[in-house]
């Protein structure tokens, strides 16, 4: 199922997209669709990593993280807890 969206692009950008699409022998809309999907996938991965880091650093709560990551938040919490606990063990060892 698809949904149509309308966006306005800079004329120069459209010319560049058209040039690329011509070189690759694909329709403009197909090229834009593929690129958009690639970018969204990449951004989601980066966003997840940033959220995991923010939680580890204590900048966001578990609830905030769970709202964005869903069930993956449990794994982030578990890894964070083992990291904290392990640090204490290593500090004991270093004394």
């Amino acid at each position: 199922m698809t949904t149509q969206i309308n966006i306005r692009l800079d004329k120069r950008l459209v010319q560049e997209i058209d040039a690329l699409a011509r070189m690759l022998h694909v329709p403009r809309s197909e090229w834009v669709r593929l690129k958009l999907a690639e970018m969204v996938k990449e951004s989601i991965l980066k966003y997840r990593e940033v959220l995991a880091l923010e939680y580890s650093m204590g900048h966001i709560s578990f609830e905030e993280m769970r709202n964005a990551l869903g069930s993956d938040a449990e794994d982030v919490k578990m890894v964070h807890e083992i990291t904290r606990k392990g640090k204490k063990e290593m500090d004991k060892l270093l004394k």
Binding site: M57, D72, D75, M78, T83
Partner: protein
């Protein structure tokens, strides 16, 4: 001396960090025959992990191999030697193994803790530690890289 029984993915991660040699020199690491076998099997593949496994195998003369009853996975053998008190900690970067190790009540740490040890001993600087974590993170996809993201807090 405290002994760390280490799994295959932690050895690979430490190799990627560039500090496997230093870690082996500073700490008493041990593996089992299954871990040795897993590294050999991994080394048959011509991808990055395969090449890393072959490099890790060259370090094995400096790592003690503990004898166990053969089990189907490296984690199971590590649990056995931990239960027999032949090691003090299990080092495992396998997210899927966490719950198994937790249920067995075995003290578990990550390879990042061994880097933290080197840092606290002055063998790597804070910057070197953080760069090492980044190298480890880059090699792993989402979820398997959580350990290296969380590891940043060790160098805060």
């Amino acid at each position: 001396m405290t002994r760390f029984a280490i799994d295959t993915c932690s050895l690979i991660a430490l190799y990627y960090s560039g500090y496997l040699g230093k870690t082996i020199k500073a700490l008493n690491l041990a593996i089992t025959n299954k871990i040795h076998y897993e590294l050999e099997e991994m080394g048959k593949y011509s991808d990055d992990d395969g090449s890393a496994a072959l490099e890790v195998l060259t370090f094995l003369t400096k790592i003690k191999i503990l004898e166990t009853q053969p089990k189907s996975t490296g984690e199971e053998e590590l649990i056995e030697i931990a239960i027999k008190h032949e090691c003090d900690f299990i080092v495992s970067d396998d997210i899927r193994a966490i719950s198994v190790l937790k249920r067995a009540g075995i003290p578990q740490i990550f390879s990042t803790h061994l880097l933290y040890y080197l840092y606290k001993k002055g063998k790597v600087s804070k910057e070197e530690g953080l760069i090492a974590l980044e190298k480890m993170r880059n090699r792993r996809p989402w979820k398997n890289n959580l350990i290296y993201i969380a590891g940043i807090q060790l160098f805060k």
